[in-house]
């Protein structure tokens, strides 16, 4: 069995992952008070030996980061916190919620002992058993339906789509049942389900695995949608989504799973309906979410050098939009640029443009500019794929045009 990396252990805690695993004997980090957690971590082999100490282990994980530009996230500066990757942050949030509430369970393809195709559910099956971390057959509509049935009966399931694109098969259940049953039953049955998975354009994954489902789902009444972009907001949004009584779809991005950040030790939950102010500014409001945040921040560096002062907001909440934060920003800067990965037609940007135009028309000095992917299936060839995604250069040009 592969070695596992765990956060926050003192080196003296023996962790055995062999068949004689006994959960009562092992003190896992999340059961303790969180202030005891330390920034170091240990790599432990399957027989309980410490394989690597934390200094060498740190080198183990830094090479896979796919950041573009700063991850200027708002972390709490009071405590040192601990460093982890985005998928680990999701796992931490998930595990804390599973520990806190025995009704929380996970279902999806390969989430159990395989640990999930992006390792977000790693270690959970061993800790919580096969019933709380359920491996499903390849039937997205049906296991999403199962999750809805379990949610109506009192559980709080988290359904993982191996890739968001596969959840297109679950569209019937999500639209006709998940979004609807609370309403059509007159409030008698609630559906506190979380549907999550990686989406967005990856590195040459082909058209079917590069879907942006937020544009297809945004119309369904009854669901909420959030997109995470940093380890800090990933953990906070995961926890908030699980605690919410509404069905929530949490969009992750395939290329952001290895982002590293220092997050607080203490427990925190973010609001599902709030946008995040990434960089305050005066000249132009740039609205973005998920991976495009990093392209925007990279462009922001260039823009600052050229003398512009962009205000960057990661909208995070895709349904409903945080029009309060967005509105305040528009009232300040009077210019809006939306940068998204969705396709031009019917994307999140299209809805956001309409919402801002409707609500803040008087405050705009220029038409809203929306940079999105073209209305084409994502090609496989690397160069072609790059051209379908909005690049920092385009963002810089757009801001310059807007601010003329």
């Amino acid at each position: 069995m592969a070695a596992a990396v765990f956060q926050g252990f003192g080196a003296s805690t023996a962790l055995s992952l062999s068949k004689s695993f006994d959960s009562k004997r092992v003190k896992l980090p999340f059961g303790r008070s969180l202030s005891e957690r330390r920034a170091s971590f240990v790599v432990v082999g399957s027989d309980g030996r410490v394989v690597l100490d934390s200094s060498r282990a740190r080198k183990l994980v830094t090479n896979a980061v796919a950041t573009k530009g700063d991850s200027a996230a708002a972390t709490s500066a009071s405590k040192p916190g601990h460093e982890l990757l985005l998928f680990e942050a999701l796992q931490e949030g998930l595990e804390e919620e599973m520990e806190r509430d025995p009704l929380v369970c996970v279902m999806g393809e390969d989430v159990g002992h395989y640990g999930g195709s992006y390792k977000v559910t790693k270690g959970l099956a061993t800790k919580y058993g096969d019933l709380r971390v359920l491996d499903t057959p390849i039937a997205e509509n049906s296991f999403t339906g199962m999750g809805i049935g379990a949610a109506m009966t009192g559980l709080r399931p988290i359904v993982e789509g191996m890739n968001m694109g596969f959840l297109l098969l679950a569209y019937n259940q999500i639209s006709n049942n998940c979004g609807m049953l609370h309403y059509t039953s007159g409030g008698q049955f609630k559906i506190p389900i979380v549907i999550r998975g990686p989406g967005g354009v990856g590195r040459q994954l082909g058209a079917e695995h590069s879907q942006r489902l937020e544009s297809y789902f945004q119309s369904i009444p009854g669901i909420q949608m959030v997109a995470c972009s940093t380890p800090y907001n990933a953990k906070g949004l995961m926890k908030a989504a699980i605690r919410s009584d509404n069905p929530v779809i949490l969009f992750e991005h395939v290329l952001l799973y290895n982002l590293k950040e220092r997050i607080p030790d203490e427990e925190y939950v973010l609001s599902l309906e709030e946008a995040e102010m990434v960089r305050p500014g005066e000249h132009v409001t740039i609205l973005t979410y998920s991976r495009m945040r990093y392209h925007v921040m990279q462009a922001a560096k260039t823009l600052v050098n050229k003398g512009y002062d962009p205000e960057v907001i990661d909208i995070r909440s895709l349904k409903p939009f945080d029009l309060y934060t967005i509105g305040n920003s528009v009232k300040k800067t009077h210019r809006v640029l939306i940068v998204e990965e969705c396709m031009r037609t019917g994307g999140i940007g299209a809805s956001l443009t309409a919402a801002i135009n409707e609500n803040f028309h008087d405050y705009l000095d220029a038409p809203i500019v929306c940079l999105s992917s073209q209305d084409v299936p994502t090609p496989y060839a690397g160069t072609l794929e790059e051209w379908t995604v909005v690049q920092p250069g385009q963002i810089v040009t757009a801001v310059e045009q807007l601010c003329k």
Partner: protein, 480 residues
């Protein structure tokens, strides 16, 4: 829901736990048992306990966690080869090989037998085995079947008169509705398609509550949001009907999974028609239930028609019952118009589902004696005399009536009294429901989420302003 015993079970997971479930005796799976043998069976036998008393103790429970994860090709469930044939080891277990090439036939020589207890004249068949039903339960079952039949007729007429917009009858399927409901407990979670209002009726949903939902008035539990017959009641454990076909089947499996985690003495039950089994959701859900050993009862009302599509155009297998073994699910074919057979089989299924933690498939053969809905005229695609024959000669209600009358539990006077009482109550319920006001405009925006978000509050404000400005364009009798 009781939140008992949800501790992580990681410790037990890797022990090779014995499943101490006793298999149901061979007599129940396989050859029929004679009535004499049933009566003479020793008190310790599982079947005798079931037949003798209403609730026997369970056979051993299965553990929550599967010990199988790290065993590779375990052949536990496959039959043993006593003959000593040479075998091959493939993933999934050992199979005997044969040098003779032969294809398994696409259709069996004989169709699966259909379990029935009463004949057409309501007399018990010789050599039958069934769960005894007391006079009280039998008379109650019959009364509810009559109530369901009357309710269907009256609401159908109300739709024709324009009083309600739509209705779906369950004519011909009263026995499936009521007898299966009678065999369950109120803790069992019901996931219906749309032709099972009898289950709600059995559990105590009043005629007034049915009428309120059909009229979509302020007293409707669904707050006027769904079409008629889309009933739902969380306190009666009946999950709101959703128009989509077969989507409730995976819901039932999910609910059973939840019950399994809670170790509750209850199962999930889901109903669907012959047409619904063509949906992908049916296939995946039943497969899943088998793999995950979920306590679900799948009841298929094979009534011969999916709107205008006869079963010959729906599938080519021998009905639905043969699909059970294809997924590893224990199955039975039952005469759906025989209330006692339905009752017995659902009772037995429930004991097995909960005691052995396994899914059970019941195919109830019946006939949709009414139209698909009020939007359908089935004489367009089937002969009117066929419909008439099933409605009269094969009526499940009169069949049960003959049985209870032959036991001296019913009479003509009781019959006419019941029918006129029910009819009076129904007409009254309709009149009352018609007069109750409709849900207010605010109910348009509540329950989309737990609390209305800002965009919905804004939209509600806009709507109210519009109604105030142009009141003549909006229905006057709907409260604002």
């Amino acid at each position: 829901m009781a939140l008992c015993r949800r501790k992580p079970c990681a410790a037990s997971q890797f022990e090779l736990l014995r499943r101490s479930r006793g298999p149901a005796p061979a007599s129940l799976i396989g050859a029929p048992m004679s009535a004499a043998a049933a009566a003479a069976a020793p008190s310790s036998s599982w079947l005798a306990r079931l037949i003798g008393g209403p609730r026997a103790g369970w056979v051993g429970r299965t553990p929550r966690c599967s010990p199988r994860r790290f065993e590779s090709t375990v052949a536990e469930k496959l039959p043993r080869f006593a003959s000593g044939n040479l075998t091959m080891d493939f993933p999934g277990g050992k199979v005997a090989f044969t040098p003779k090439m032969s294809f398994i036939s696409e259709s069996p020589e004989e169709r699966a037998h259909c379990y029935r207890v009463l004949d057409e004249d309501g007399q018990p068949l010789v050599h039958g085995s069934f769960v005894q039903v007391s006079e009280q339960v039998a008379v109650r079952m019959y009364s509810e079947m009559v109530t369901l039949q009357t309710m269907d007729n009256i609401f159908y007429e109300a739709q024709r008169q324009g009083r309600i917009s739509f209705y779906v009858t369950s004519i011909g399927e009263e026995a499936i509705n009521i007898a299966s409901a009678a065999a369950l407990t109120f803790d069992d979670l019901v996931f219906p398609q749309y032709r099972e209002p009898g289950v709600l009726l059995w559990r105590g949903f009043t005629l007034q509550e049915f009428a309120n939902q059909c009229f979509g008035n302020r007293d409707d539990y669904g707050k006027g949001r769904q079409m008629p017959v889309h009933y739902g009641s969380n306190k009666l454990n009946y999950f709101t009907v959703s128009s989509t076909i077969a989507t409730q089947i995976p819901h039932a499996v999910g609910a059973a999974y939840s019950l399994k985690m809670d170790e509750k003495d209850a199962c999930a039950v889901t109903y669907f028609g012959d047409g619904g089994t063509s949906e992908g959701d049916f296939h995946a859900a039943i497969n899943f239930a088998a793999v995950r050993e979920a306590p679900v009862i799948f009841i298929c009302r094979n009534n011969g028609w999916a709107i205008s599509t006869p079963t010959a155009d729906q599938f080519r297998s021998d009905g639905i019952v043969v699909r059970g073994p294809a997924y590893g699910v224990r199955s039975i074919r039952v005469d759906g118009n025989d209330a006692l057979a339905m009752y017995s089989s659902v009772r037995a299924a429930r004991e097995m589902a909960i005691g052995e933690q396994r899914p059970i498939l019941i195919e109830a053969l019946t006939y949709r004696a009414g139209h698909h809905s009020t939007s359908d005229d089935s004489t367009k695609y089937r002969p009117a005399n066929e419909i008439e024959w099933w409605r009269t000669a094969r009526d499940p209600v009169s069949r049960l009536r003959k049985w209870i009358e032959s036991n001296g539990w019913w009479s003509d006077e009781a019959e006419s009294e019941l029918r006129s009482n029910v009819r009076k109550q129904l007409l009254h319920a309709i009149q009352v429901a018609e007069r109750v006001e409709k849900p207010p405009v605010s109910d348009l925006f509540t329950d989309v989420y737990d609390l209305p978000p800002s965009n919905l509050r804004e939209q509600e404000m806009l709507l109210r302003e519009t109604i105030k400005r142009y009141p003549q364009d909006y229905p006057g009798e709907v409260p604002v």
